[in-house]
């Protein structure tokens, strides 16, 4: 049976924890609003880009197509770009992305393919390094940037492109969490090289003039498309992270509240028991006289 002092201490510490989780929840809620707005503002650009790209790509096929669309012709070496958060305490957010990446890596390895990994965000690295320490090429840390933007995405995309140009891999897949709602984030894998051209994009049968010519536009457009995909992943991730943290902290706060209630009840009960015991002792002492 814990003493009264123990119980008091325990209640005080749970209360302190509850204050922290409550504060974190509110901070996450405020950040979520901004992250969500940023993710939504970036959507139109990505969508338009897809449409234009689909239109262009349908015109350029066969051997004339750039390698970013047609691929290298083999699929021996896979690059997994795993985007996670820099911080923990956000429920299953990081682990679910890492799990998806790990399953994919294991499946590829079972097929005797080489797997290389780039981690964007420290948490994914922390999880994946246990199993794939040797396969991780690089860890990109975005912690220093308060608001990640186009510049960061461009840096990552350039990095990937340089590796592709150097022939380090054949297929690249991007892992991130799609923001659906505050309580639902979907870990997603998206192939970025060779580019996935959406076939269901609204096609226009108009015949376009190209200035400069088609292949040249496509050549400048494809690297940019990669940047946009990376940017989208990062922004969706940021919103998902805050959403996951918000709901995780909400349930943590609720759990702490429940615990305080139980402990307080226990505390009061043992306090009463103590008083009763003392009274009995006094009365029986007086009776013995």
């Amino acid at each position: 049976m814990p003493s009264l002092k123990d119980l008091r201490n325990r209640i005080a510490s749970v209360k302190a924890t509850q204050k922290i989780t409550k504060a974190m929840q509110m901070v996450a809620a405020a950040k979520l609003r901004r992250a969500q707005a940023a993710a939504e503002a970036a959507r139109p650009y990505a969508e338009r880009m897809e449409t234009v790209l689909a239109n262009l790509a349908s015109g350029v096929t066969g051997s004339s197509a750039p390698r970013l669309i047609s691929g290298t012709g083999s699929d021996k070496v896979h690059l997994l770009v795993v985007c996670t958060a820099e911080r923990g305490l956000c429920g299953a957010f990081n682990s679910s992305i890492a799990r998806l990446a790990r399953d994919k890596a294991n499946a590829l390895k079972a097929e005797n393919k080489t797997v290389k990994i780039i981690c964007v965000g420290k948490k994914g690295y922390d999880i994946l390094k246990r199993q794939f320490e040797k396969d991780i090429l690089e860890v990109i840390d975005l912690r220093a940037f308060k608001q990640v933007g186009y510049v960061n995405a461009e840096g990552i995309a350039q990095n990937i492109l340089a590796r592709f140009a150097a022939g380090e891999f054949d297929v690249a897949t991007l892992f991130f969490s799609k923001f659906k709602s505050v309580i639902s984030q979907i870990p997603t894998a998206q192939r970025i090289i060779p580019a996935e051209i959406p076939t269901d994009a609204p096609k226009t049968d108009a015949v376009y003039d190209y200035e400069p010519d088609e292949s040249e536009i496509l050549e400048t457009l494809l690297p940019r498309n990669l940047t946009v995909q990376v940017l989208r992943a990062i922004l969706e991730n940021a919103a998902s992270e805050q959403g996951a943290r918000m709901s995780a902290m909400d349930s943590a706060t609720r759990n702490a509240g429940e615990m305080i209630k139980k402990q307080t009840q226990l505390y009061n009960r043992s306090r009463q028991a103590m008083i009763t015991k003392e009274l009995i002792e006094i009365i029986s002492g007086a009776e013995a006289l």
Binding site: A42, T204, P212
Partner: protein, 137 residues
């Protein structure tokens, strides 16, 4: 006057969306004006000013740096790599852009990329010159 739908989108947000009478676009092949009923066209952009003539007689100006324009029957879209309101542009912003382009050029080893970055740099310098002249006038 005949109008058409025009959108100016940067990776971060939509800068302009609405019905316009005409748009002047700085394409890599030269400046061009798009009116309603323009033939379908896809062109790349250089650093410069996009001038949008809206229906209410007032023009709006934006600074863009690189990107793509898609002219379609009924709708025109600019996908600008970088875009901002011209009011927000000043010499410091341009200097920063030029500096970024210079560091990128210095750090690049790929020949094609070097050529592209060099073009960007030249365009930016040209634009800065035009911008300063405009300011003086």
């Amino acid at each position: 006057m005949a109008t058409f739908k025009f959108e100016l989108v940067s990776p971060e947000r939509i800068l302009f969306s609405g019905d316009v009478v005409s748009v002047i676009i700085p394409s890599t092949e030269g400046e061009m004006t798009v009116l309603a009923g323009h033939a379908p066209l896809v062109a790349t952009l250089k650093a410069g000013i996009v001038f949008v003539q809206t229906t209410d007689q007032n023009g709006k100006e934006f600074f863009v740096n690189g990107g793509l324009v898609e002219v379609n029957h009924g709708a025109t879209t600019i996908l600008a790599e970088q875009g901002r309101f011209l009011e927000d542009v000043n010499a410091a912003v341009l200097d920063q852009e030029i500096l970024t382009a210079e560091t990128k050029l210095a750090g690049s080893h790929d020949e094609d990329e070097q050529k592209r970055l060099h073009d960007t740099l030249v365009q930016l310098r040209e634009f800065k010159h035009v911008f300063e002249q405009r300011k003086a006038a």
